[in-house]
Symmetry: C2
Subunit: 283 residues, 2 copies
């Protein structure tokens, strides 16, 4: 066995870094879209890195995947039709399909290689890919949403990389307008919205662009995520008609499936914004 070394992501924008001790590089390739590396770590299972940025580890991805899905699904009255933009590791798809009310979930990932490598190195995240309700498309999510039939979708989940490179067009009013049109009344858009501590300006800009696109309510939910910069992350929900202050609390408390982070109490807790966020976001 080789001597362990470290993979470290230096996050220049915040002047902080996060690293993992790795046993070896399992795979590296340059796709038409990006460079993907898979490492075997000593304590975090496998690690996927895209263009030098940590995407996920086996050990802590449950935090992100559960918070990108269950709060939105337990806020919507009955989300039958779900679209995931990005999400190529299939972890978000797996969580969505835990909900019996979901009749069809389409994952629109631009880079098929992300999914193929997830199948190989994160098979537990791909265990619902063969579900008859799942549809895996490898296409441009911006174009997909622009061409989606009006009022045909209940929930759009934007599970993308940071707003640079291929994901840049997923963080602006034009994209949100496509999502708004494609959502049914009461429909929800949820997007990963980076670190509450160091990406506050991005969160504010996202929320403003969502409102510009017509969304009537916007909420940002923080959660821990050790492998992302500052170890503290967030998702932002936007609703087409209606509010976002409550959720189906009894449904969440009586959920028919297992989770590791999410529960009804955690959901309520995530709706409670820390003082500095409340002030910054005007809530």
């Amino acid at each position: 066995m080789s001597t362990p070394s470290w993979f470290t992501e230096a996050h220049q924008a915040s002047g902080s870094s996060i690293g993992f001790r790795v046993e070896k590089l399992l795979h590296a390739e340059k796709t038409p879209f990006q460079t993907i590396e898979i490492y075997q770590t000593t304590d975090w299972g496998n690690l996927m890195v895209i263009d030098g940025c940590v995407m996920l580890t086996s050990r802590d991805n449950f935090l992100y995947h559960e918070m990108m899905t269950h709060p939105a699904l337990f806020t919507h009255a009955r989300a039958k039709r779900v679209v995931i933009i990005g999400g190529g590791d299939c972890g978000t798809l797996r969580e969505v399909l835990k909900h019996e009310e979901v009749e069809k979930a389409t994952q629109v990932e631009i880079d098929e290689r992300v999914t193929r490598l997830a199948e190989q190195y994160f098979p537990e995240l791909c265990e619902s890919n063969a579900d008859t309700r799942a549809e895996l498309k490898f296409a441009d999510g911006i174009k997909y949403m622009a061409e989606a039939e009006a009022e045909s979708i209940d929930l759009v989940i934007v599970d993308s990389t940071d707003p640079v490179g291929p994901a840049e067009g997923l963080f602006n009013a034009a994209f949100y307008t496509s999502c708004y049109k494609a959502l049914r009344h009461g429909g929800i858009l949820v997007q990963q919205s980076e670190s509450p501590l160091v990406h506050l300006e991005l969160i504010k800009a996202m929320r403003a662009a969502m409102r510009t696109a017509g969304f009537s309510a916007v909420k940002t939910l923080p959660f821990p995520q050790p492998c992302y910069p500052t170890g503290w992350w967030s998702c932002t929900m936007a609703r087409k008609g209606g509010e976002l202050s409550g959720f189906r609390e009894r449904g969440a408390a009586a959920k028919s499936f297992a989770t590791r982070y999410y529960n009804a109490e955690v959901h309520k807790g995530a709706l409670a914004l820390p003082e500095f966020l409340r002030e910054a976001l005007g809530e």
Copy 2:
């Protein structure tokens, strides 16, 4: 100006690391207890490192200091007498003294140099050191608690380094028994209890030792803390008589002082344990 480089703490126990981009080393010294370094960072203000472990940065210490103090103080009916074990940077003392009901707060730090360096490099944390209710002692906290008068204290806050080196004796039943004896009925012990994700065994051992010492209720509250391993941290509260399930919610909602993280809703949220913690801790 020198070229920026990085200070990185490799946390061997979890195989993960956290780093900060630094402009320069401002100070380094070896005290009778430990080695202390102070760096000027590019984005996190000043950074204090003890024996290679990050203690605090100017930018994110509010998370830790507020969560080590306000939940306990808003749980206790009226904490007049507070003792802080460790806490040499004085940030915990500052938060405690925001509470008008506190009549005396004694900080018992073993290493006077920590406080002297905090006065110089983190002056904002030391702004309440001249408060007439504040008492700064430089002594062994284990001995202090062993000799404390029985039933004389309302709140003991253990704001220490990790359970190795000088802080090792702060994480066991003998110390908790001293705290139990020194606390009045209804009194609370609160201690930093490391990462919920990677220090679960330590948290379980702490909680068991607190119960062994006689405490009737124990609660662990998670919170984000970017500069500590995994970016996710916790405090554990133990009560001498009575429960820990509720707190003075109206008092917290109407608090007379400013905070940046803590508020009544955040407090409630911190009491909601994630699913895996609920299972692991038997709650």
